[in-house]
Amino acid sequence: MQNPGTGTRSGGSLAVSCEELSFSYPGAGQAALSKVSFELCPGEYVGVVGPNGGGKSTLVRLLNGLLRPDSGLVRVSDHDPATEPFEVRKHLGVLFQNPENGLVAPFVEDDVAFGLENLGVPRDEMRDRVAQAIRAVGLEGYERREPHTLSGGEKQRVALAGLLAVEPEVLILDEPTSMLDAAGRREVLERLEALRAEKSVLHVTHHLDELLNADRILVLNGGELVADETPGRVLSDPELLRENRLVLPVVPRLALALGLPANLKTPEQLAEAILTRTGSETRTG
């Protein structure tokens, strides 16, 4: 599957691949990542879950070149982040957890332009790409706003616009909604949903309800990849959930406890399924 984007990319090769990836922080007793192997195909939406300290953040930083692996192979859009970090960062954008500390400039549009400035993009081209990115996240009119006047959701959307302006093929989301309130989460998740068709996405999160539509879910615990399965399989495996301290969202949890499949995501779907089972029809309203 072809992806629009900068750089020369051939359709069919992997967006991200890891082979026996291992890393330990200096002075730590236990390995942060231990022989992790997985692939992200172009256009896939893959979730990454697991307890804190299990290796999720380490993986993110190994993929974008902030850390260098002790052993194993990493390729992002056919480049090695350890030896060509600048190249990789043209193809890979990371949305971090803290909405505040990712914004570097005193105005929204300047911040969105930051990545383009780093790439040496000419000014005229920058203006168009910045305007487009701001539109893509629904923040038209916010160009001259100062970051400290924005809500959490707005800040994350500015950060997202900054990533999109560079037009990477791959996006990594590192717990992007965990510090946001309900409204902020909705804002950000809406925009991310709209990007699914165009980008390859790796989404690290604690909220399993964000991954119900994912293609696959990777479970990292103690530095090891303990599962690489579809959401359906992960959600319906109580031992897997328990061992990795994963908590189901309310609706799938109710569904499973009632003996219904775990792929029911919304209250409406669950109500429908219950009524079907008990032999009557849903009345709307």
Binding site: R61, N64, L66, P85, F86, R89, K90, G93, V94, F96, N98, E100, N101, G102, L103, V104, A105, P106, F107, E109, D110, A113, F114, G115, L116, E117, N118, L119, G120, V121, P122, R123, M126, R127, V130, E146, P147, H148, A159, G162, L163, V166
Partner: protein, 260 residues
């Protein structure tokens, strides 16, 4: 940034000037003021400065506030010259205090010069947004890159500082509130006690700032930042005819002042 206090955002011919022109003009004016050696010359400069302040549409009240920090020094200088100078004829005599005409003129001269220096700098910061100032400084310093001066890094630091000052301010308020909720009192006791009571605010604020810096650095690096090499700039500074005009007018005023 509006919380920085000095910048007064309004549309005016002075506000619209290129920051580099304004910075250079201010520098020239400040240096040049020391070359003016007559009170009349200073008065001329003062009148032109007042015209500039009027042009800049800054309310007089706001502008005078900028002068407040130096009023004490000015008063001291004036008092010293008025009461202790023995030049010229005696105007008033009161016990052992004598006021001479020379003292009065000197007091006026020195007071004017101090006020003009501060006004020039104040006019610059009041009519130039902090970000524009940072851009202007970066541009003016960039030729120094050739001799190894980290002009880009300095500019980046200024931009980041401007971005985070309001954020850190809010953080400080929040931490103060949290400590107050735990029974901290910042208003009791003498200066030493009060300084010590700020430890529960300054320590977490500082540690938090370091953590922020860490996360920010990661985010910047992730977005391809690798110093100033190969970087283009989104914001534009355009030097126009009116900026050249402003510069020449400044030099001209100074010349007149020196000659007077």
């Amino acid at each position: 940034m509006t919380s920085l206090g000095q910048f007064y955002p309004v549309a005016s011919p002075v506000h619209g000037l290129d920051p580099r022109a304004k910075i250079v003009a201010t520098a020239v004016l400040v240096a040049g003021l020391f070359l003016v050696d007559s009170t009349v010359g200073l008065l001329f400069v003062a009148v032109t400065l007042m015209i500039l302040v009027a042009l800049s549409r800054i309310p007089i009240r706001n502008f005078l506030r900028l002068l407040r920090p130096v009023l004490f020094i000015v008063a001291l200088t004036v008092a010293f010259q008025v009461f202790f100078s023995r030049e010229g004829a005696i105007v008033i005599e009161w016990g052992f205090l004598e006021v001479h005409t020379g003292g009065l003129w000197l007091a006026l001269f020195l007071a004017l010069r101090i006020l003009l220096l501060v006004s020039a700098a104040g006019l610059l910061t009041a009519t130039t947004a902090p970000v524009a100032l940072a851009d202007g400084i970066e541009d003016l310093l960039s030729p120094l890159k050739r001799v190894g001066f980290p002009a880009h890094e300095v500019a980046m630091m200024m931009t980041i500082a401007l971005r985070f000052i309001p954020t850190l301010g809010e953080e400080a308020e929040k931490i103060k509130g949290a400590q107050a909720a735990r029974g901290a009192d910042f208003s009791e006791g003498g200066p030493l006690r009060r300084a010590r009571s700020l430890v529960p605010v300054l320590v977490p604020l500082t540690v938090g700032a370091f953590r922020r810096a860490d996360e920010l650095a990661e985010a910047m690096e992730s977005r391809g930042y690798r110093g100033g090499e190969g970087r283009t700039r989104y914001r534009e500074l355009r030097f126009r005819r009116k900026d050249a005009l402003a510069l020449s007018v400044t030099v001209f005023i100074l010349l007149v002042g020196v000659l007077l």
